[in-house]
Amino acid sequence: MTLREGDLQNTVLKKISIDEFEPKTGKSENVMVVGFHVNDQHPGKDLYKYLNNSIAEIRDVEVSPNPNEDGYYMVFLEVDRKDGVLDAVKNIVKEVENLAGKLKWSVSTPLSEELIELTDESLNTYVQQQTGVFLSKNDFDQQQLEAKQVEEENKLEEEAQSNTGKILEFLQDSNLLEAGINDGKLVMRDRSNVAELEIINFGHGPDVMSSLGIAESAIKTDFDKTTFDKFNSMLGEMRAIPIDEYVIIYNPAHKNILITRPTV
């Protein structure tokens, strides 16, 4: 019996499975398994026959002999894992729509906890399309975590770069002859002294202090007066005060403060 347009309407579930099953025709690194869900074996066999005659590049088609735990029969396709395979799958889905009607397809994949709409760009993140590469959920999560960490480090690096300019500008009211920042350390020099301080944070006073959990009430009284006299001499109208293990540099004419720590 020849299948006609709309013959499988209301029999195919709008959920597609990708990479949730092991391929039979090769290794997962090279072969992707795509699964359609149908509500009975008869439409499953029809879909099998239809896809078996497709001109799409399909390595194998199978229909499950028994329903899964949700009561659905599955029609599995195996396709080559390669760049653009997701577009190929979308074209196959369009072919299926000839029989099943237009559906709002969503994809379940082991790399995502949630179903993702087939048209959603983020699907490219969760469907592995590189030949020879197939990450487990754990490896994928680890990779995503590392990528996020690199992104955050880059962001911090950019912020640090941006802060360098702001900090040097902040110190312009001081008596310093020279100030430079290198590798997170501030080196200050006036006519007779050189001091090096590790930069901890810079920004709006209350914000940066609360981010470090310090308060003005924690100003130390047992600090090294000679060192702070030296700092204050170098800073001119600006001030250095000791709070906990930090040296807080502030400018009375400025809302920002620079939190530093003496280098060992």
Partner: protein
């Protein structure tokens, strides 16, 4: 009968001779998916439809031929 054997040979290969006594799972190294596959291919080739309940538990080639023949003759 020849068409059925041709489909089975194409599906399972010709390394193992296929006879009416051959069991599709035990002798031809198939599984339940393969049985459904060959039934689908036979249905398509012969233009017949075999109800699911008649294909459940199919094992040997002879059992397959018997089921298919009933639909070809009817």
């Amino acid at each position: 009968m020849k068409e059925i054997i041709d489909i089975l040979e194409k599906h399972f290969g010709t390394d193992t001779p296929i006879t009416p006594e051959s069991h599709m799972i035990d002798d031809l190294n198939g599984d339940d998916f393969d049985v459904v596959d060959v039934v689908c291919q036979i249905e398509e080739a012969l233009g017949i439809t075999i109800p699911e309940e008649e294909t459940m538990g199919l094992g040997t080639v002879q059992e397959l031929i018997t089921v298919v023949s009933a639909h070809v003759e009817s």
